[in-house]
């Protein structure tokens, strides 16, 4: 009941192949680094999309949870804890703090939730710049070790000292996150998220615990943000308060909205297309946020489902047109 047409599946396979082969055709180390960052942003933005797009709760603290993952891994690995333990623990810490914050604040609605999460995000950012003993203050934390190699029987080991190793690690996590989100969203359980977004009183009246539903969505989204942040720390080797800042939240928001809110590919498309486009338009750097601010407004007014939603609409129009023109060939196209 939730299946996709064949040509969509083929498209996804092609994209997957392109992603797997990326190190071979992007030899430029700088661009490669940007693409790897995009993978991490795509993970975090997908988490935000679960809360914002599918469940309809405008969280403006997502950067803070990314930061908790980043600082968590930074602090733990510098204390000698192995990355493979530090990463899940950091993500769990982000999820746990998300639970603590979500429990009281998810009782608020709409604008109040947006403001209260924005306030929380700013507090985390201020604290990360001032709690010098824990976070190193404005300078942040340096010299975070790369993940230790994973031994594989017969093959030797998988190493992460190169950018390529980190890229594949990030890609694997992105695929895992997307797979999990796919299962959650395209199911009866996922429908309850959308029910809450669409009509909370009705959802309540048909026996859905809307408060618990929002909480699950929020905590899961925060966990994903923490995961992305943790890998960011290991990849960059350093974290500073900007990795927990509200500008980061706004960046995630831009990826989600321009890519396509409440679609699974949307945030991924946004997180890849926007940073890469910006690199090719360096001369526009000063105008970055001027353009994206205006785009955010225009897209939300005219294409609330972003690029992916727009393409889907186009696809439907084309399909309808084809059916009208060539009723016979319709079977073939499915």
């Amino acid at each position: 009941m939730f299946t996709k047409p064949i040509h969509t599946k083929l498209l996804y396979l092609a994209i997957l192949a392109a992603a797997l082969l990326l190190p071979w055709y992007v030899p430029d180390a700088y661009i490669f680094q940007i693409v790897t960052m995009s993978v991490l942003y795509a993970i975090a933005a997908s988490g935000m999309n679960l809360i914002l797009g599918f469940t309809g709760q405008v969280t403006l603290a997502h950067g803070a949870f990314f930061g908790m993952g980043a600082y968590g891994v930074a602090i733990m690995t510098k204390a000698g804890i192995v990355f493979w333990l530090a990463l899940p623990v950091s993500a769990l810490i982000a999820a746990f703090i998300g639970l603590l914050i979500g429990l009281p604040t998810l009782r608020t609605r709409g604008a109040y939730f947006a403001i209260v999460t924005l306030c929380f995000g700013v507090i985390v950012w201020i604290v990360s710049g001032n709690w010098i003993e824990l976070t190193g203050g404005h300078n942040g934390i340096f010299g975070i070790p790369r993940p230790s190699p994973i031994p594989v029987p017969f093959f030797g080991q998988i190493e992460f000292f190169t950018q390529t190793g980190m890229y594949y690690l990030a890609l694997a996590v992105l695929l895992l996150v997307l797979f999990a989100l796919y299962r959650l969203v395209y199911s009866v359980f996922g429908l309850t998220f959308m029910a809450v977004r669409n009509n909370e009183p009705l959802a309540d009246s048909v026996g859905i615990n809307t408060y618990a539903t929002k909480l699950v969505s929020f905590v899961a989204g925060c966990f994903i943000a923490g995961l992305a942040g943790g890998m960011y720390a290991a990849m960059m080797g350093a974290v500073s308060p900007s990795a927990a800042g509200y500008m980061l939240t706004f960046n995630f928001l831009i990826f989600v909205i321009l890519g396509g809110m409440a679609t699974l590919p949307g945030p991924v498309v946004g997180a890849f297309a926007i940073p890469v486009l910006m690199e090719f338009m360096q001369f526009l750097d000063d105008y970055r946020m001027l353009i994206f601010g205006a785009l955010l407004i225009m897209v939300i007014i005219y294409f609330p489902m972003g690029l992916v939603g727009g393409l889907r609409r186009l696809n439907q129009k084309v399909a309808a047109w084809r059916q009208q023109k060539f009723p016979e060939s319709d079977h073939a196209s499915r």
Partner: protein, 287 residues
């Protein structure tokens, strides 16, 4: 004692700014049920326009202030027209996102036009006087008295003019007002003009004392939200009272507890209060 009084004075000065900025925000939120996240950025833009008209063009402080306030009124009307009105009957979260878009746009507009370096206009009233051991400049006193004058003026406007009374009616009951044939679109436009205009007055009063920077609106705007939610959306007395209260708390908290965490008090208080009472202290209305 002197330190205490000095902090109280500073608290009142900041509080009067908070009060008028929150006043503009509470009107817009009461009317449109939209959190205008860019409200603090309207304040910021007002400051830069004062710089532009007073210093760059050379109109001087007072004339520059009048022109920049009027210009900001126009900015408010434009903002309502092209950003919020098309989203009137869309799901609410779309308007929140458009608000974030406006905020990013305005901040980066100031950055592109005036650069990230702090700018100043010469203080028109730098004279210092001392009363009961508190040093205060004339400009700082002007902030307080200017704010009080604005509040009184706005109060008279809301109570005595037809437009003011209409705005309050719409803020209280949008559907009801529509049924009685009030042109809600026109009221929304005017409210945005007043809201942006008052933000520009606050900025004009404060700009001679502090440096202008493109990022100065963000935190101020959030504080205005804290005040509006705690004081009750659409409530003018709530905004005034909350503004002065927050100014005093910050001045005393920042002076005696921790300057670095000064902003945390306001935001922390909001989280705490909304956790206990999800619709705000005086909340009846939900967004």
């Amino acid at each position: 004692m002197d330190l205490f009084l000095q902090q109280v004075f500073n608290g009142i000065m900041f509080g009067s700014t908070y009060a008028i900025v929150a006043l503009g925000l509470t009107l817009v939120m009461g009317i449109l049920n939209i959190p205008n996240f860019a409200h603090g950025h309207l304040y910021m833009l007002g400051g830069y326009l004062l710089f532009f008209f007073a210093s760059t063009i050379g109109l001087g402080y007072w004339l520059g202030m009048i022109v920049s306030v009027a210009a900001m009124g126009v900015v408010g009307v434009i903002m309502e027209r092209i950003v919020y009105r098309p989203l009137n009957d869309q799901p609410h979260i779309n308007a929140f996102i458009a608000a974030v878009g406006s905020l990013l746009f305005l901040e980066s507009f100031a950055l592109v036009v005036w650069g990230s370096q702090g700018l100043r206009i010469p203080n028109p009233h730098p004279q210092i006087i001392e009363i009961m051991g508190i040093t205060m400049s004339i400009q700082r006193l002007l902030v307080i008295f200017g704010a009080i004058a604005l509040i009184l003026g706005l109060h008279l406007f809301m109570k005595k003019t037809i437009l003011g009374i209409t705005i309050e009616a719409v803020a209280q009951n949008r559907e009801g007002a529509m049924l009685t044939g009030i042109n809600v679109n026109r009221v929304s436009s005017m409210t945005f003009a007043i809201s942006a205009g008052t933000a520009a007055v606050a900025a004009s009063l404060l700009t001679p004392i502090f440096m202008l920077s493109p990022s100065m609106g963000a935190i101020l705007g959030m504080k205005a939200f804290v005040i509006v939610i705690l004081g009750g959306m659409g409530s003018i007395p709530g905004a005034i009272f909350g503004g002065f209260l927050l100014g005093l708390i910050e001045a005393l908290g920042g002076g005696y507890i921790s300057a670095a965490y000064k902003d945390v008090f306001a935001f922390g208080a909001l989280i705490l209060i909304l956790s206990i009472k999800p619709t705000g202290l005086f909340g009846q209305k939900e967004v």
